[in-house]
Symmetry: C2
Subunit: 246 residues, 2 copies
């Protein structure tokens, strides 16, 4: 059996960075998905393996916290492990290590195993009891679990319209998990990114987005350091993000 | 001195793929930029080195051709080398090797060294005569050089509007080179990607895009297997792409 914790090296290239030379949240989200995908693959429950059962992992929630945001030309390592297997979801944690091996951030995520035909969650312990063998309780993920993200008030501070295109669609035919993050962050002006940094980022996926969907991203400032961004399709929220600024 | 040809391995993960399980053109463009950036860095003329002189490499043109588009779970290697150093630009070539080392595609690119203060091209042979030492004439890039991409007719077949946001802006404060590709490809319907594949993709960058720019992407079908996509800011074309379908 492979070890419970997987470890994946990354390097932040200049061309991947935002205008401040930092690794933007969608890039970090992509790295997290990469680490999760490789960890599962190396242990026999990756995309390839479970698609034979007509099942796919679907990310439903994620929270990311940084002590210092990674920046250009920096190397980092993402460690990931399964923290818990519940009946209908698994909890996966991440720890980010800087160049000297010091922790620089953490993330938590919740995944559902979806039956691709019925679109219903699979009972994980009966379908794949072996996944519980990888549950790791030794490594610590000291960031708060996610709470429910409140719905936005009817009128947001500002809104941005976006129609889902080819580049937004993933291999399952849905709006890509990373693209929800990208579009949500585009409601902010560059001046805001200059003045403050995202200390904690939370996302809840509520419904699948499809090609051609006309989306409206609305922004709701709960306080000076807390903002909710809602992705609406008509009156339906398909995604909510909560940002804590520091 | 390092060898003239740099070689960089990549692996196409499922989560990076488009709805058909293929590596989308913006991903390949990103890998090409990564290979170019590392190749230059390892030879002392990367972003880090030249920014000390107040200079940045700016991609002005690129052409990519695939024999077979890379798909999920495939490994590939990108080789890159400098083909020629002219007074005000360099030509860089790429060869893509599949898992058995067989060539599966090629790319050509043209780069200007821009003085970041004056925004004018630097005379490369006088500024950095050493770059010419890396010119490699032994490796072959058998795809056609780029021709001028014709301007679109006033009325395109269809148009898509897009406002440049935070996620589009690169470390130099401009619309990211890969994002031009992404937005250009979003003028097509999924049904078109199902029916045919991009055999050759060309892009010419005409002007820098900025945060908040209101862009209109217009599509012009020159024939059944050739399309031009123009990125307009008002009446000014800031980018043109030419796609040859196969």
């Amino acid at each position: 059996m492979s070890s419970k914790v997987g470890s994946f090296p990354f390097h932040i290239q200049s061309y991947m960075c935002d205008f401040q030379g930092r690794a933007p949240m969608p890039l970090l989200g992509g790295m997290i998905l990469h680490a999760a995908s490789r960890h599962a693959h190396e242990r026999g429950f990756g995309y390839e393996h479970i698609s034979r059962d007509g099942v796919a992992w679907v990310l439903t929630k994620m929270a990311i916290e940084w002590l210092e945001p990674p920046h250009r030309d920096q190397s980092l390592t993402i460690e990931t492990w399964v923290e818990a297997v519940a009946r209908f979801y698994t909890q996966r944690c991440f720890r980010f290590l800087g160049e000297q091996g010091q922790p620089i951030g953490y993330a938590r995520s919740v995944w559902v195993a979806l039956n691709m035909e019925t679109r219903r969650p699979v009972n994980i312990p009966s379908w794949r009891p072996d996944i519980a063998d990888y549950v790791c309780e030794e490594t610590e993920c000291p960031i708060a679990r996610m709470k429910k993200i409140p719905a936005g008030t009817p009128d947001g501070v500002s809104a941005r319209d976006y129609t889902v295109g080819y580049s937004d669609i993933d291999i399952n035919g849905h709006l890509n998990s990373v693209k929800y993050i990208e579009h949500s962050l585009d409601v902010f002006d560059l001046s805001e990114y200059r003045e403050k940094a995202i200390r904690r980022f939370e996302i809840t996926y509520l419904a699948e987005g499809y090609f051609g969907d006309a989306l409206r991203l609305t922004r709701h400032d709960l306080s000076e350091d807390e903002t909710v961004v809602e992705t609406l399709r008509g009156s339906e929220a398909i995604c909510r993000c909560r940002l804590v600024w520091g």
